[in-house]
Symmetry: C2
Subunit: 204 residues, 2 copies
Amino acid sequence: MSGLRERQKADRHRRIIDAATELFREAGYEGAKMEAIAAQAEVSIGTIYNYYQNKGDILGAIVSMEVNEVLNAGRGVVGSPPANVGDALDTLIGIYIEHSLNYLSKEMWRQAMAISTQLPDSPFGQAYTALDRALTEQIRALIQRLQEIGLVRADIDGPAVGELIFNNMNMMFIEFVKRDEAKIPELRAAIRRQNRILVWAIGL
Amino acid sequence: MSGLRERQKADRHRRIIDAATELFREAGYEGAKMEAIAAQAEVSIGTIYNYYQNKGDILGAIVSMEVNEVLNAGRGVVGSPPANVGDALDTLIGIYIEHSLNYLSKEMWRQAMAISTQLPDSPFGQAYTALDRALTEQIRALIQRLQEIGLVRADIDGPAVGELIFNNMNMMFIEFVKRDEAKIPELRAAIRRQNRILVWAIGL
DNA sequence: GAGAAAAGTTGAACCAATTCTAAAATTGAG
DNA sequence: CTCAATTTTAGAATTGGTTCAACTTTTCTC
C-alpha cells in the first residue's frame, strides 16, 4: 500500500477540493466553472469526474467537512451541558450556527441544500441526509442527558422534542442563508424565542 | 382591452402551463425538455422564454396554484376549528399535506424547493418564500383563534409557536418528498407525535 | 528490467438550457 | 386601408456540465 499511485490520488483529491473551495468562495458555485477548477487544480476535467460524480459532489465534500467539525464541537456540550435547559439548547445551537460560515458562504449553503433536495439519492444527497440525522441525534442526546441530570422531565417524548427542535432550527437556518443580509445574532434570538415555550414545557 | 392579442396571450399561458404540467408529471422536471414543452404547447421555445424567465418559473407557476388552493382550503379550518387543540392543528396540517400531491409529484416538489433555495431572488424564489409566509400566517391565525375561543392559553407566545409548528411541518414535508417511498399517513403520524408536546404545553 | 495488465488521465464531442437575431404577424392611429 | 410600433416566431449560436474513446502512467509478474 501507499505506493506512488495512492499518494498521487490523495494529492489530486486535495488539489481539487482546495481549488473548488477557493473558486466557490470567489466566484460562487455557478460562477466557478469546471474548467477553471480543473485548471486551478492542475488536472483535466475528466479527472475531476473520476474523483467526483458531478459538480455538486465536490461541494458535498466541502460541506461534509464543515458539518463534521460542527458535530465534533457539539460533543463537548452534550458531554457537560450548562446547568439549565434553555442555556444548554442555546449553547449547542449556537455552536452549530456560529461554525456554519467557517468554510461555506451562504451561497454555497444554498447550493448544497438545493442539490440535496434535488438529488436525494446522489452520493451527496445521501450524505447530507445522514449529516442532518447526525445533528438531530446530537440534539436528542443532549435532551436525554438533561433528563438524566434531572433538568428535563423524564416523562416527555425526548426523541420527538429533539426532532422538533432540530427541524425548526434547520428551517430557520435555511431562511437565514436565503437572505444575504440576515445576521447571526437575529437568527439566534429568533430561535431562542421559539424554543422558549418548549424549554418551559419540558423543564422541571 | 381583450382584443385578439389579449386572448391569445392568455391562451398561450394556459397552453404552456398545461403542457408543462403534463410533461413534468410524465417525464419529470429534468426529463421534460423545453423543446418538448414548446411542441406540446404549440408554441416556439422563444415564446416560452417570453412568458417565463426560465424553466423553473414555469414550475413556479404550477406550485403557486397548488399552494393557493391549499391556503384556501385552510381558511375553512381557521374559521371554525375543531373543538380541541390537537385536532385543530391536525386538521389544518392534514389539509396541507393531503392536498399537496394534487398537481405536483414528489419530484416536482423537490425541484421547486431546490430552485427556491438556489435562487431566492428570482421571481419564483420570492413567490415561494411568500407562500411559506402565508402558510405560517395561517397557522398563527389558527392559534390566535384558539386563544380567542379559550382553548389555548392567552399568555403563550402565539406567533413563535406558529412558526415552530410550521417550520417543523415544513421540514418534515421536505424529508417526505425526498423519499419516494414515504407515505402520507406516516408523515401525519410523525408530525402529530412531535406536536403532542406543544399541544400539551399551550392547551388549557 | 521488459512486457502485459490495470488504473488513471485527457480533452474533444455531446446535450439541453438559454440568448440572440431577423423575419412575420398583429394591432391601433390616421 | 396603410403604415409604424409592438409582439411573436423560428431557429442558429452560445454556454457549461457531463461523457467517452484513445492515450499514459503505474503496478505486477517473471
